[in-house]
Subunit: 190 residues, 2 copies
DNA sequence: ACGCTATGAATGAACG
DNA sequence: CGTTCATTCATAGCGT
């Protein structure tokens, strides 16, 4: 087993320098395909690099700068702690606690969104619906294995969080209307 | 102090599998409210999930697939071999046939960041040559192994880091137009 | 050797 | 729908 080449692109100093130049000097944040091609062509001289690497690099770079900025602003040890009480836009910020009610009503376009919207009014508050009346869950992870049992080796990687040993707490071995009827939606749903 | 749950929905492998099933096997891209209800009802067994999560998942998935498609079309001398994408019929048992390729036909506007994805594909880690679009599978499990396109590494058991659907197949070695005339994106650039 | 940090990679969420 | 932001996972690199 090997063949993975390099799992992760490791930019050389030259590449980083070039990217920074592009980023800072040129201020390019969203290069065009042509630009990308050229950039890539250049960087490839130093090491294996794909377009996505550049993409990620730029994205991460931008993100990170913002993050730092934000962090600095928040963690400011100096004064300015009570200054902004109303400026920062709510939601989606460092404080991120999603406003449940804020979600409804504005998704974007009109396509599937409409359908979602119809259901989604319950984004966290009400979940009346008609389906979840009965906690159908008998086999819990039955199909889980069916889906992807491709864990070749193992992977015994440390489990960081809840892993997958539980979580559903399903304990209702009752009758479920359609637990494993996948076909039902596939066929009947569409 | 209980945490605020996870700010971000963390799909379990099971959920992803189910979503893929819905997406690929059923070819559902814009589920109806009823479908949404059912989907969500099912997925809720594994973790907390709201309608919006599904909505976003589908959107992102579609977007991503489209990007790939565009890329393929671009790299393969325009549309040419995309015709035979639909070949082997599922012929499982339920007989869900997919029709995913029906969407292609309108990609000519490269805009911005996407240019990256457009231009590149190979990451260097995985490389799937076959389009995961169609879980054609002549087995007996119907939809089971079909989803997992065998994902060697990653092996993240939990969140969504295991990847599965992307296929960066074409790793164009150096077919670029090679506009090496990096005359000047910036001043001297290097 | 082990743990921490920096950062590449991936994807969920949201904007226009 | 395409683009962009934000968050998180995974890992190369480095210090102790």
């Amino acid at each position: 087993m090997e063949a993975h080449q390099q799992a992760r692109w490791t930019p050389t100093p030259e590449q980083i320098g070039m990217l920074k130049d592009i980023y800072y000097n040129s201020g390019i944040r969203s290069p065009t395909p042509e630009q990308i091609q050229q950039i890539i062509a250049r960087l490839r001289q130093y090491s294996r690099i794909e377009v996505m690497n550049i993409f990620y690099w730029l994205e991460n770079h931008i993100s990170r700068e913002r993050q730092k900025m934000r962090l600095a602003a928040t963690t400011t040890t100096t004064i300015t702690r009570d200054l902004h009480l109303i400026n920062t836009a709510p939601s989606s910020s460092t404080g991120h606690f999603v406003n449940t009610a804020a979600q409804m009503g504005n998704y974007g376009s009109v396509t599937m969104e409409k359908s979602f919207r119809d259901c989604s009014i319950s984004s966290g508050r009400d979940h009346i619906e008609t389906l979840p009346l009965f906690p159908i869950h008998g086999g819990e992870d039955n199909f889980s294995t069916a889906y992807c049992n491709n864990k070749p080796d193992s992977s015994s990687y440390y489990s960081g969080r809840y892993g997958s040993d539980d979580g559903h707490g399903s304990s209702c071995p009752s009758l479920e209307l359609s637990l494993n009827s996948y076909t039902s939606w596939s066929s009947g749903l569409m």
